[in-house]
Amino acid sequence: MIGSMLGTARAMSSNVNGLSELLRQAVVEVRSGDTGSGTGIIWGGSGLVVTNAHCIRKGASLQVDAVGKWREAHALAYHPDHDLALLAAPSVSGPLLELRDPDTLRPGELVFAHGHPLGIRDALAMGVLHAVTRDRDKSARWIVADVRLAPGNSGGPLVDAEGRLVGINSMVVNGLGVAVPASLVQRFVERALSQRAA
């Protein structure tokens, strides 16, 4: 009995290690001017980074660090209401994260936040989903999770137990982590890119 319980905990632990490895490859550190750094998610495999708008100082120089090397980047689009920014960073690449539909989320599910809190690289925090808050039209507006975030987590991924992107960690409210739903991020990126193409 105890043996099998120990096995479960160990299997869980190695699952979490797997998530950490995946996310390590999927994020960058974002630095803008002399403000503190944030986290960014490599979007669509390569060339694009999504982060929080508040991590970017407008007009300031912009760098991203993927594998221990700082590279220049520039902002393509902002959405201040959703606190999102899309960056062009031609030389970065990483795994594609599957997106999690916010309508399928259930309170109590395990979630994981990856980022660089307080300058600590690639830190992972585990918690559970608290709630999905919605706009008047019922569309998901914020993902609220019982997960410990700190400055530097901003712009980083919140994923589910299978590594699917739940949202982008944006702020802490009353001790709870608050993230922008992946569905909103996807819509923001698609609009930004189609406007540029037009």
Partner: protein, 320 residues
């Protein structure tokens, strides 16, 4: 620039199956759903509502400090329906309140209880609350099990759980549940001045029985203040005492049971119902064991001689 399709799966399955983790994750979500079925929102204070548990048919328990009114308490049931509850009783010592719902509540909403005696430090638990319309949860472990804990209001509780999880605004009064969603206890962040604690289900049942029967919990008292004292070896030898300590009576309340029974300032109480006393808590424990209307036999040392005084405790819970 090319628009990438973003629905390509890249879950970390190559690192070994995630099944354990996602299994746990969906178990936890299912547990919250099960528990949420018996968690109500109580609108009886400013700001955000607090949580309550449908404990028995038509009876809700919650944290007393979160219910700031005594009449017509608006409740939102798990199914979203609104109703009104009345206070059946409060116990300030354990900060529990019992509410009755007019018109009852569907039996299906009565919380399933778990046996909390098997809980150990490190057991996985969820705190579930309904600080509004929707249910929400936090996750953590039992960080300590306190045996024979005494709350700062003086209530003796056999067992309490200290929690390594966040009890958020509006979570007080909600359930602590196991990974199946069965209720282990009631969460309260005010019981120990901010430390998240949970009262076990068994203690709640005991308090609830009394609250429903008489509207308060019996707190027998005799009206004395005491201080631990050590007895000299000569006194111990002279009276052949088993214990070398006792409780010195340092004040007696007017018209209290102790005064009426003839207890005097300066008496040293050695035993209560043949149980040796060395701390004030021992006397409280002895009084708690006295049946309603019964008397306690105190063995006292007065002026060098041993006397036995019978005192009938009064009920302080009444009128609180």
């Amino acid at each position: 620039m090319q628009v990438h399709s973003h629905r390509v799966c890249m879950s970390p399955k190559s690192e070994g199956s995630t099944s354990t983790l996602s299994e746990l994750s969906s178990q936890l979500a299912a547990a919250v759903e099960t528990a949420g079925n018996s968690v109500v929102a109580i609108h009886a204070r400013r700001r955000i509502p607090s949580s309550g548990i449908v404990w028995r048919d038509g009876v809700i328990v919650s944290a007393s400090h979160t219910v700031r009114r005594d009449d017509e308490i608006p409740i939102v049931l798990p199914n979203g329906e609104s109703t009104v509850a009345t206070v059946a009783g409060r116990d300030p010592a354990t900060d529990l309140i019992a509410l009755r719902i007019s018109g009852g509540v569907a039996k299906a909403h009565v919380a399933p209880k778990a046996d909390s005696s098997s809980l150990r430090v490190g057991s996985l638990v969820l705190a579930v609350g309904r600080p509004g319309r929707n249910v929400s949860a936090s996750f953590g472990i039992i960080s300590a099990v306190g045996e024979g804990w005494r709350s700062w209001q003086g209530a003796r509780i056999d067992r309490v759980f200290r929690l390594d999880l966040a009890v958020y605004d509006g979570f007080s009064g909600g359930p602590l549940v196991d990974t199946t969603g069965a209720v282990l206890g009631l969460n309260n962040s005010a019981l120990a001045r901010g430390t998240p604690m949970a009262l076990p289900a068994r203690a709640i049942d005991r308090v609830l029985d009394e609250l429903l029967e008489r509207g308060h919990v019996r707190r027998p008292f005799i009206g004395v203040a005491v201080q631990s004292v050590a007895l000299s070896a000569a006194v111990v030898k002279q009276h052949q005492l088993e214990n070398d300590g006792g409780l010195l009576i340092v004040s007696i309340a007017d018209s209290s049971p102790a005064e009426n029974a003839g207890i005097l300032l300066g008496d040293v109480v050695l035993e209560a119902n043949e149980q040796a006393l060395s701390q004030a808590g021992d006397l409280l424990d002895a009084l708690a064991g006295v049946a309603s209307g019964g008397a306690v036999k105190l063995k006292v040392l007065r002026g060098g001689t041993i006397k036995t005084v019978s005192v009938t405790p009064a009920d302080r819970g009444e009128g609180e």
